[in-house]
Amino acid sequence: MGERLVELEVLRYHPETDKEPRFQRYSVPCREEWVVLDALNHIKEAIDPTLSYRWSCHMAVCGSCGMMINGEPKLACKAFVRNYEGVIRVEPLAHFPIERDLVTVIDDFMAKLKRVKPYLMPKEDKPLSAGEYRQTPAELNRFKQYSMCINCMLCYAACPEYGLIPKYIGPAAIALAHRYNEDSRDGGREQRQQEIAATEGVWECSFVGACSEVCPEHVDPAGAIQQVKIKSTVDWYTQHLMPWLKK
């Protein structure tokens, strides 16, 4: 297998010593099949052990290694070095504070994720003896794509609305709320609506659509957000014009 010397320009930030982030350049002998994460691992192991970044599975499942690669939000484990020409610029995910080097502070996303209650809240609790909550393949397909989200936050780094208005709940959290709202077994929509149908929820979205374009799992958060907008609008009209329909 061929080996090629690749220049990586990595954003470094050490809170103990640095006032602001700076770029550091590394020459890395990369193999043909390497992804950017392999190059970072090589730097860490052989060139500079002080480099910090998150990663875990190396197979686009854990969602830990999201970073900006040449300005685009990517999973470092899915970004093949051979697809880039010249210097590869690696930065932490945009729109998140930098904790250290390529590690971002993700507290904001975690808090928002919790607020939208992304878990099944059964319409009615059944005793264990009553058996499982059954679902047809059609009912499963209704929400399946949204359940593919790996919480990698690339969509937040791609979304200019989130960058400009940090209180915006954002693409992944809304897509996950929608995933449970669309689940035939779920009865928690009203509780989630309080978060996602609010101003900080779907109405901050102006449909840039970048979230869906960068999603490594081909989830369509932009679609979920527009569908929540439509359903919330129908809710409003039902409530104000036909209140007798409201249970």
Partner: protein
């Protein structure tokens, strides 16, 4: 002894440069920008109605004004932006209005195509009623 670790998260300021970070943001801003031309054309229409109400002389002056080179340039730009906005917007309809039949979803192209087709048909009807044919 472990080295003392201090937390001092660094927040990067967001500048206007996000618009040129990727072509998708330029396309998005072009769609947003189109509202200026569509809004401008709407104001022109209101002005035209006012001139019509003011009598034949005012209306004739308004029509003459529309023939000026500046007006023609504006109309070409407004038409271009309106078409761009409409086409890109209708192309996004499958995201907002997915249609599930049984286990499968109707293909995106069919939903966008239906909207684009209805738009074209209605435009032809309006042009016909306006006496363009």
């Amino acid at each position: 002894m472990a080295e003392e670790v201090s937390r001092k998260p660094y927040v990067r300021a967001m500048t206007w440069r996000w618009i040129v970070r990727h072509p998708r943001y330029v396309r998005y801003m072009a769609r947003e920008f189109s509202c200026l031309f569509i809004g401008g054309w709407t104001l022109l229409l209101v002005w035209g109605l006012q001139q019509l109400a003011d009598g034949p002389a005012a209306w004739a002056a308004f029509l003459e004004c529309l023939k000026s080179p500046a007006s023609i340039v504006f109309h070409v730009l407004a038409l271009g932006f309106a078409a761009y906005h409409s086409i890109t917007w209708f192309n996004l309809t499958p995201k907002a209005l997915p249609l599930q039949l049984g286990e499968r979803f109707v293909p995106d192209a069919a939903i966008a195509g239906a909207h684009l087709g209805a738009w074209a048909a209605l435009s032809l009807v309006i042009l016909y009623l306006a006496g363009a044919f």
